[in-house]
């Protein structure tokens, strides 16, 4: 049953502009050298952080299409009628969102890292850091989308909510790219796990509150 929900959301995302966040990610990464100049050493120093800022801003784009269309069209009501809990819907949406957001972003990180002048060891650290962190970004996006569904200007409000919540993740994730020591990566993984564990419950409660 959850498999059907995931398949539906993946299908809808692929048709509904799943490539947009990836393009946006690359654009932001490409903008940084223009803003700070082409100095290779400066770029290599800030590259990891810039890559994560690009990932974070790209994560904002899909917020408005994650939950609100299903609320407006009564799909959430129909799922509830069939005894499917808000948490189950949230887990399905998080998995589906990551599938259409995480792997494409990892692929885009390769040219992105080249634009920012990251060398090969840094690129590998960046890929690991993004692989660990993007599931948490997907979970945050679904939670925030559930909280803001049905509100006027929900997408903008979603951005305001998501960015501060993602800051702990951003700190450790960017550090994990810059620092060869594994400490930051472990802290990033812990933060990501915490977000992943909590988000379905936040989202489930928000979906229940939507009905009243």
């Amino acid at each position: 049953m959850i498999g059907r929900l995931i398949a539906r959301d993946v299908r809808r995302a692929l048709r509904g502009g799943a490539w947009l966040p990836v393009i946006f990610f690359l654009l932001v990464a490409a903008t940084v050298p223009f803003a700070v100049g082409p100095d290779v050493q400066v770029l290599a120093r800030i590259g990891g952080g810039a890559l994560w800022i690009a990932a974070l801003t790209a994560a904002l784009l899909p917020i408005e299409r994650l939950v609100e269309p299903d609320r407006a069209d009564g799909v959430l009501d129909q799922l509830c009628l069939r005894g499917i809990s808000g948490e189950e819907v949230a887990i399905a949406k998080i998995v589906a969102h990551w599938l259409t957001f995480g792997p494409p972003l990892l692929l885009a990180a390769v040219p992105g890292a080249a634009l920012l002048g990251l060398d090969e060891p840094a690129l590998i650290r960046a890929l690991i850091s993004l692989a660990v962190g993007t599931p948490a970004l997907a979970a945050l996006a679904v939670a925030v989308a559930s909280l803001t569904a049905g509100l006027r200007g929900g997408a903008a409000l979603g951005g305001l909510l998501l960015l501060p919540l993602a800051i702990p993740l951003l700190i450790f994730a960017a550090a994990a790219i810059g620092d060869a020591q594994a400490g930051a990566l472990k802290l990033e993984a812990a933060t990501a796990l915490f977000i992943l564990a909590g988000a379905p419950f936040v989202s489930g409660a928000a979906l229940r509150a939507l009905r009243t």
Partner: protein, 171 residues
């Protein structure tokens, strides 16, 4: 507070026509019956219900048959009979977003019919339907009641499909 002191029991084969002015709580009663809303006081016990309200709840970019089939697969039913019952078979390959208002209504009713639920909750089921479609709804309702199902419908106009018990809200 929309209404209080409402005591209602519906048995197999029965149909209830909920009437009342706008804002009397007809739609809320339907949502209470299927558990989407919780009553402020009292209890609701009901069989598994299928709801057709103002929301279509079908994926717009999908062909009608696939969109209906997605729900039927969750319910373990099949859509062919329901689509035939509401004269939608020839629209099977048409994307849901291309349907007219009346066709959308019929699609929502077919979604309910395909669900296999014993309690049908219909919010304004005949609005937007032409005379022939109203007849089709009558046939479907009669068949559902004969099979031991029950129907609750909120409507401003008389409904087809046999005798309806009337519940007046906010009158």
């Amino acid at each position: 507070m929309l209404f209080e002191g409402l005591d209602l029991a519906l048995t197999a084969g029965e149909a209830l026509w909920v009437r009342g002015p706008n804002g009397a709580g007809k739609s809320s009663l339907l949502r209470l019956a299927c558990g989407l809303l919780k009553p402020a006081a009292g209890t609701v016990r009901a069989q598994a219900a299928a709801l057709a309200d103002h929301a279509l709840a079908l994926d717009r970019e999908q062909p009608l048959a696939s969109a209906l089939d997605w729900w039927a697969a969750l319910d373990g039913g099949s859509v062919a009979d329901a689509m035939a019952a509401f004269d939608l078979t020839h629209l099977a390959e048409v994307p849901v977003r291309m349907l007219s208002t009346g066709q959308e209504r019929r699609a929502a009713l077919a979604r309910v019919a395909a669900s296999g639920a014993s309690l049908w909750l219909l919010d304004e089921p005949v609005s937007g339907l032409d005379t022939r479609s109203v007849e089709l709804l009558g046939v479907a309702v009669t068949k559902h009641r004969k099979a031991g199902g029950a129907v609750v419908a909120a409507s401003h106009v008389p409904l087809p499909g046999g005798e309806w018990r009337i519940l007046e809200l906010g009158g």
